[in-house]
Amino acid sequence: MLEIANLSLLYGRHRALENISVGISEGETVVILGANGAGKSSLLKAIAGLVTPEAGSRVMLDGKSLIGLPAHDIPETGIALVPEGRGVFGDLTVEENLMLGANPRRARATEADRHALIYDLFPRLAERKRQMVRTMSGGEQQMVAIGRALMSNPKYLMLDEPSLGLAPIVVTELFAALKRVQQTGVALLLVEQNVSISLSISDRGYLMEAGRIVGADTAEALKTDTAVQQAFLGGSTA
Amino acid sequence: MTRTTIGFGLIALALAALAFLPTQLGAYGVGLLLGMTGYVVLASAWALFSGPTRYISLATVAFFGIGAYTVAVLSETLPYPLVLLVAGLIGLVVALVVGLATLRLAGVYFVIFTFGLAELIRQLVTWYEVNVTGTLGRYIFLPITAEQIYWQLLALAAVTLGIGWWIARSRIGLALKVIGDDETVASHIGIDISRVKLSLFAVSATIITLVGAIQAPRWTYIEPAIVFNPTVSFLTVIMALLGGANRLWGPVLGAVPLFLLFEWLSANFPNHYSIILGLMFIAIVFVVPRGILSLGEDVMRRFRSRELRS
């Protein structure tokens, strides 16, 4: 169980998150919806330890607090992040990026299996093992980023707009792949603009606005919620 | 508009005062002013190009030395103003060649390239003197006093700051900033990167050459080891960075205190100069993270915001 409570975050004087409370059970998939600048990425970064929240904020994993844990110790706890803008190691090869993904100790045992899984999910990566990631197309780099996160054998995988810049067919495949990831028991925390497809694989969803959670419901309910329709689905299930 | 006029008026007054200063000071004071003004011009001229583009050039001493050597070679054959002109022209030509060569380089590659270039020029001058003219050291017996050198440097400083002021307000200044931020964007919005970089580099290098030429008569004896001393390049960079290289007054605010610090330390702690200087330097880096000018601005800003609140 990953529990976030009373999470607040300041960038200088700008309040990016205010009293956020979100919970994800093991194996569950949760999507966070919200306009640009609502604070979705900030929330994921705070969980990953990349930004330091205000005092009084709580991030608990299976009852243990993650607050104060340095960012580089987070992957070891089983939380992985595919960040906005990918954050791949541009001057290293695909293979090296994946190898680094398995850097946390918890990932070592399953490394070989994971490699196979990832090359199965993204055959393009298997073809380009030795290519410098910097020289790959935007979508290819996104695959590397997701692959790298999966390498760490996460229990909770956070994805920040994974479909960004991917061809439709790849988006379909990616979400199919994410479904398979779900089946391996990994919980997903998803931030997406592609609302319909993300709701389709989610159990629950949260709505964010200006740094606050303004709504939460099951995915089923959100799909038909008129407010959500208005704000995020453009009135129709396009 | 009026504020600019007042600003110019004040600056003219300050210049007049500075020009008048030598009459109030002894030889040592004049020497101090002279050295300080020399570095003010060097740092300001350096920052003309390197500030906005963030290309850290260590070729300063190459141009400085070229200027000094030109004077040493020609001082007996040409009238002094002409010598300066020739020195400036040589500096300009070398700068254009160097500028063309370095266009493709970026970051630290540019830094070390310019260092290598300065060393190469020094080696070539040495080799030429040894093998062609057969004398290495040269003598300059020009009847130019320290005051006169100082006045020339002061004028050059005014010109340099004037150019800096003009650039900051002109399209070229904006182009330089854009280049410093992102060259791809720069070229895609229609900036001819090569031309902008080259012309600025040439202007900056010509001024630096003139500093070398103007200061040369002070030494009587010149040899490559003296006028191509890489320390000059390093000090220039350090002063400009310390003051804030992308502001008009930044280099001045770096050069003056640093020069005085050097002077004070060498006058008072000749035996522990290195250690004290080093420690102070480290302290400065930690206390004044974004250059002296920014420090001043921060203080001002805090002051103003407090005023607003009250």
Partner: protein, 242 residues
Amino acid sequence: MTQLLDITALTKQFGGLTAVNKVSFSVNAGEIVALLGPNGSGKTTLLNMISGALQATSGTVALEGDIISGLPPNGIAHKGVSRTFQLVKILPSLSVAENIIAALAFRPQPLWGRGARDQAEVLLDRVGLGGRGDEHADELTYIDQKRMELARALASEPRLLLLDEWLSGLNPTELRVGIDLILSLRQSGMTIVLVEHIMEAVRALCTRSVVMNVGSKIADGPTADVLSDAGVIAAYLGDGNA
């Protein structure tokens, strides 16, 4: 209808990899053409060759009959080509307005001083950033940076505008605003080539689509036809999106 852009047998090789392979197509003035294709099919590379960011290995790009391939990016920009980048490129040390003024100041008929400031405000208004010129460019949100980048591209008054996934990352509401903005550009007579993976936008905006796969052109025609093409569905759209 006059032909504005003409691409002939354009090829780009990176070492052994042929990223763009003898692609030819042309774009009429006033058209909005979508450039589609799977990830890594060479779309960005193609745009890069048009804008001069990359030199073509072979083939030519012509603008109203003028060969522009071989010119440096600034030369091409002065011929009337502007673009945005797949990963936004802002000028982080400048203010939002200065980002635009920079482009105004270096277009063929430069604007400077008062005129530039006013025009920058007009452009910012147009992309929805009115009144925010004094903010620091690097403190804008992603979407606002994209808006600013578009305003910067528009500042050059291009004849041809290249948009590389400019609409990606927008939520559906924002997407609609974005689509309207691009439509308004067409109304003003601009020709646009856009790379996009969001089919909703492509359908709404583009009369014609060109589809690439593994560096080669596999389809070219009216958008509706292209998107129902079996080859395109297999390579790009997938069955679910057909």
